[in-house]
Symmetry: C2
Subunit: 203 residues, 2 copies
Amino acid sequence: MSPAKARPEAATQTRRNILDQASALLAEGGPDALSMRKLSKRIGASTIVLYTHFRDKQAILDELYIEGFERLQRDLSAVPEDDDPMERVMALGRAYRRSAVANPTYYQLMFSRCVPGFDPSPDSRRASRQAFTILLAAVRRCIDEGHVPPADPAETAHTLWGTLHGLISLELFGYLPPTASGEARLERAIEILRDGMRHPNET
Amino acid sequence: MSPAKARPEAATQTRRNILDQASALLAEGGPDALSMRKLSKRIGASTIVLYTHFRDKQAILDELYIEGFERLQRDLSAVPEDDDPMERVMALGRAYRRSAVANPTYYQLMFSRCVPGFDPSPDSRRASRQAFTILLAAVRRCIDEGHVPPADPAETAHTLWGTLHGLISLELFGYLPPTASGEARLERAIEILRDGMRHPNET
DNA sequence: GACTAAAAATAACACTGTTATTATTTCGCC
DNA sequence: GGCGAAATAATAACAGTGTTATTTTTAGTC
């Protein structure tokens, strides 16, 4: 019998606690600090408890991975609609960076193989694509309203996503000089993208 | 006395062999496969040999990291000059992707914290910035010859680098659908960037 | 309160990076 | 060639990792 069937509320509470402490360990000391032993000490129990609630370490990381994408999706969904679809795309870009910079550890887990042996499960990857659809829909609207030439919207959205991810990734990894703010740098980048995507005859 | 002083040629040969086998292990089985024990078995010796030639595992990874950037720099340097500076920037973008895709393990080591506890040394990071200067010079020429508005060339080059890195990173990580080729996707992206960077009144 | 079944603890296995101690080899010199 | 000194390599160990088999404790039901 699984713990969920035996004492549902206590079990989900323990699960939640494990994930929270795992997230905290990850944020505090990076991937190295997140070990099953330290985690078990943190929740004041033995390692075996972790294994009754999760199949293995991967399963815990998988949940954090999904949570990371849920956060990102939530932050992108919170961006208000805009009459100007191009402006909305830019606003989504800013929100993407804010979300990533606010949760650098999650972002690292989501986009760089920072934990040895961790490979997100197919289910997790599916969840990850969900966040992308918001960006895609915004680009599609730009095309529908004639601001962007009718190319494959996914291709254009990928370029956008790539630029966002690339700049944030380089920033978090310390490759970009801290002279200019990351925010200003991203602003310049999305302006270039906007002008490059736009129809030639538009202002 | 260091091994280099005692038998210089044999020592450098052993060093080279260690690095080659380390690189091979990394390429074959990813970061997990590169352990000091496996590496020592591979070169047919005890772990202690590794420690007489390198301070620790980090030092080995640091050398591989630098080699990765040297490769990238070599591949970018091999791009021939072009009368059209904009075309040259695009050619550099294509070369960047080719280099990254040809050495995915190196690229991962260079840009994602794929090995636990590995943080490139300040010297290594300096080497990493060298490769960027090629991109920067090409962008600067575009500005000098009036193809791009006179903004900070570094900012523009960062946008370019970010887009290249982002798309390649997403591609290597499996976030982009394998329907379209990565090459075509990058082509589309650098066209958008070119049009976005260009002076408004230019064709 | 006793019985049953689930959950937790202990201790262990195989692995990791690293190092102290011991043994071997190699070099310069006679 | 053989000796002494010094550097290099091997063995074995330490503390750490993820994971699990075995044992003990706890909780729910009659």
